[in-house]
Point group: C2
């Protein structure tokens, strides 16, 4: 055994045998649910994170170390057959470093694109998809020029590291420009035009190691304060619009040599001829809007991600029940005992100790017969 | 903090709060699936077993110690809010000892009864249920006398510690008597008359801390070589017979002050007027024939056991899909990659390393629309 951090291990077998260990970067609830899904298939998980989290309680092995700690990363890489991650803000350098020793799925290419709102939107446009008008903003003067092109209302966002509405500032009129610019705190930004959408939907889909593709039914999403509140399947959307959205998702994944589950969020805009679908963003990971699959589909998004990462055949994405998923955010969590008593409600709690405002504490899936 | 092994802890709150730890005696696949279900509800598990097993990979804490190691048991009891077990052959003394410090659910009363085939059958008879003819056998002369009463064919079984067809010997004719008696190796035994049944079914049900009761749909079981092979829901059984079986299960649980999931196995015998239901045995734990609930029911038997043990309201036992569960025993496991590729099959592997003959390695649930 060598501990040279840049020694590649022999490539893992395809499919990866039960009993093998999958490394997961990140210790949050998505890592937790991934580890649970892996265990169902007889696979072990080793969680690597810079602080303990909900995933630690259900994993066979854990490491607490910084994401740039090369010694810890090398030891982690030697202990696993393949690596994946549960959040898109993992440094690309970390993934590159691990990739010298073990496969990381999805790879650095997908991560680099989805970490940058400009690259992400350019990709969608190249593939013929609609997006909001957008342009990079690196200075105050550039912001003013972009507003001249795009107009108001518009939204200024950091190019990188945004999630759950963080790193965003609305510009309703020119009076908001200064405060919005300052909210970026000097980080590279993107100005996006406003899409007067009627609804938000997402496609949660999976691409296998050898290119197989499967999508769950399109999901209707409602946000509150920038955080997902409910996800409903099936979404109220025309079949043609749903088909278009799934097709865009598939082509984005192909272009990025994507392996695993991902989500593409869309704005749906009613037009005279149907619904226009605007790509909002792509998440290179299992996604909150896919949590309904834990109870409403034959195989959950978590199991399908593990299957893809392990080089297994994809599982069925078929919906067996219509489902409404409701997030339990912050104080919503205090109702856990009431929810536990609600007939037919499928309750999921993440094992977090403190129900801070805005914190995702759990979710509940409510199933009804498939219509 | 005291480490006095007989100090009771304050009683745990009802319902037990998420973040609390449930102790599980036993490290097998049932403990593993219980721990997974607990995690879904935000509860932690501490597994205590005399050797490591599949449950260790998914638990927040583990202890390896003998079931009569009082120091280890005391430390275990101090680390948990409530204890349960995943197999019925746990020593009653272990449960009694733990009970001085923390609640053990189900309690020693249920365990003592279900560990003894005589007590179990007597209970069923007292409640008006049918069973095979039976009688205790403690000597060769007593065996001959019992055969005189019950006749052949009959089955000689150890009174205690039997499972999966172990500790049993068929007596087809008087020529088999000597070998059967010797197979008991001097252990107390029970002679059971043969029931010429057409089918085997089981009731998997749950009783809550405060007496609430819920049963899953009656399950049709097929055994091979004494080990469960398939479980099918719904079972092919008349509604009246199913109702009778569930009623017996409910009354057995009530009489034993039972808390948690349990199974009662029945022989179904066709008669002119319908189906007679003979109680075969009761398992004071989650049961292999209930594994279909992981994919075919809103709330699985594992979650319902955890709910009951934690003093939570019971979850829905409703079936959303017709399901056939097939066990993967020994070499069946070698087909895992084929099963992983089967459309719509829900595959479960237990993370065991070696597929020895007769060993339960996993199971697969196949769902079809509810008829």
């Amino acid at each position: 055994v060598t501990t040279d951090p840049v020694s590649p291990l022999p490539p893992p077998p395809i499919p990866l045998a039960p009993g093998s260990t999958i490394g997961i970067l990140g210790s949050g609830q998505l890592g937790r649910m991934l580890a649970q899904a892996a265990a169902r298939l007889g696979l072990k998980c080793h969680i690597y994170a810079d602080s303990p989290g909900p995933a630690f309680d259900v994993a066979a092995a854990t490491t607490i170390a910084a994401y740039d700690d090369r010694a810890a990363l090398a030891a982690f890489a030697m202990s696993i057959a393949v690596a994946t991650y549960e959040f898109e803000n993992i440094p690309v350098a970390t993934v590159d470093f691990l990739s010298r020793t073990v496969p990381v799925r999805p790879g650095a290419k997908a991560l680099a694109c989805t970490q940058d709102r400009i690259l992400e939107k350019r990709l969608a446009r190249e593939l013929g998809a609609m997006t909001a008008d957008f342009g990079p903003v690196d200075s105050y003067d550039e912001l003013l020029a972009r507003i001249g092109q795009i107009g108001t209302p518009a939204i200024l966002k950091t190019r990188r590291l945004g999630y759950d509405g963080k790193g965003q500032a609305k510009i309703r009129s020119l009076a908001d420009v200064k405060a919005a610019f300052e909210a970026m705190q000097g980080q590279p930004a993107i100005l996006e035009g406003f899409v007067p959408f009627q609804s938000e939907v997402s496609v949660v889909a999976v691409r296998g190691l050898e290119g197989a593709f499967a999508a769950y039914d399109v999901i209707g999403n409602v946000h509150r304060d920038g955080i997902l509140h409910t996800s409903t399947v099936p979404a109220r959307i025309a079949p043609e619009a749903a088909g278009k959205a799934v097709d865009i998702a598939r082509r984005m994944a192909e272009r990025l040599d994507y392996v695993g589950v991902f989500a593409v969020e869309f704005f749906a805009l009613e037009t005279a001829s149907g619904q226009d679908m605007y790509v909002n963003e792509m998440a290179p990971r299992v996604h909150n809007s896919g949590h309904w699959t834990m109870d409403g589909a034959a195989v959950s998004q978590f199991e399908n991600h593990i299957r893809a990462v392990a080089g297994w055949p994809l599982g069925s994405t078929a919906r067996h029940s219509d489902t409404v998923m409701t997030n339990l955010i912050g104080a919503d969590y205090n109702a856990w005992a009431t929810l536990a008593a609600e007939p037919g409600a499928c309750l999921h709690l993440y094992g977090k100790h403190e129900a801070r405002p805005g914190r995702k504490m759990g979710h509940v899936n409510r199933l009804t017969a498939k219509k």
